[in-house]
Subunit: 205 residues, 2 copies
Amino acid sequence: MGKVSADINVSLDGFIAGPGARPGNPQGDTGARVHDWMKDTVGWRDRMGFPGGETNTDSEVVDEWFRSYGAVVMGRDMFDTGEVPWGDNPPFRAPVFVVTNRPRETFPRQGGTSFTFVTDGIESALGQARAVAGDKDVDVAGGASVIQQFLKAGLLDELQLHFAPVFLADGIRLFERMPPDLRLEPIRVIDSPHVTHVRYRVVKG
Amino acid sequence: MGKVSADINVSLDGFIAGPGARPGNPQGDTGARVHDWMKDTVGWRDRMGFPGGETNTDSEVVDEWFRSYGAVVMGRDMFDTGEVPWGDNPPFRAPVFVVTNRPRETFPRQGGTSFTFVTDGIESALGQARAVAGDKDVDVAGGASVIQQFLKAGLLDELQLHFAPVFLADGIRLFERMPPDLRLEPIRVIDSPHVTHVRYRVVKG
């Protein structure tokens, strides 16, 4: 069985999206800059269907992330803001389980992505994701609320933060009221002039 | 002339002290954990007058920090909360310039530390610190407000964040309403199982 892991870009002031994030403005005002380090990597560009890009340390981190998982869990807000911009061939290329209170038929897309809407909570979504991920990881894609829920419930094995050297000033915070007894251990750091990738193991028990 | 640099310990949720920080409880409830990585290093223990300690990567980072500066600037809240616990022989071992609205006579202490109270702003404090630092750096020790003021005024050359893998949930945030056009570049990363040290250059102009 693979790991349950989350990867997320975060600003130095702790935001994953700028103010006003919503469908039509998924990253919020100023929020795009937390993703700047990815946008020129060949790994990201390939997933987005763009030509070219750079092969470098950051691109290897993106490739590793995309190769690691066999299924994805995400929150409804992330799905709602992403549905239109992701288009017919979303970058996930794996089954995605969307935690929501709003039932909807499973939504198959191209390239291996499908969206299944799970209305009975994060543990159910995780169970369904594990069942299809096989030996690969389950990626908890976000947003902040779902990552917080997984951490607080002890369901996350690893968390990789990509610290972007930028400030957003306001927006959606990655961490809100996290329990101070939650313990993480940094297990790998990869750095470049654009971003610092720190992988943490969640210490259990 | 040396650099103007700040070094500060910060939790993953962006706090430098827990809730209720004040004289008598300088780190606030739960805030001590952001300093856990330092407390066993020989570099820190020596400065605090404690015997023993470990010589490791983290201790080298502490030694480098303490060796780098010839003068210190800090805010009044930091001085007020530290004055009693630092005792007769504070860990700075250099002239400290305290930015405050409250005039007070210069306060000499043992071991090379003195506290000079500067009532005409951060630029004046920096000028006085530079004048005594010679070729060494000026360390902007904190708290959060003074570091923010230096960053916003373009007076900081480098910022080293020591990311402690802990959550405080509440307290004093390192960054509040930072201008999104402020640009940093990570220039060195040192990691251990206890903390991730990332040094940033502040990109000017």
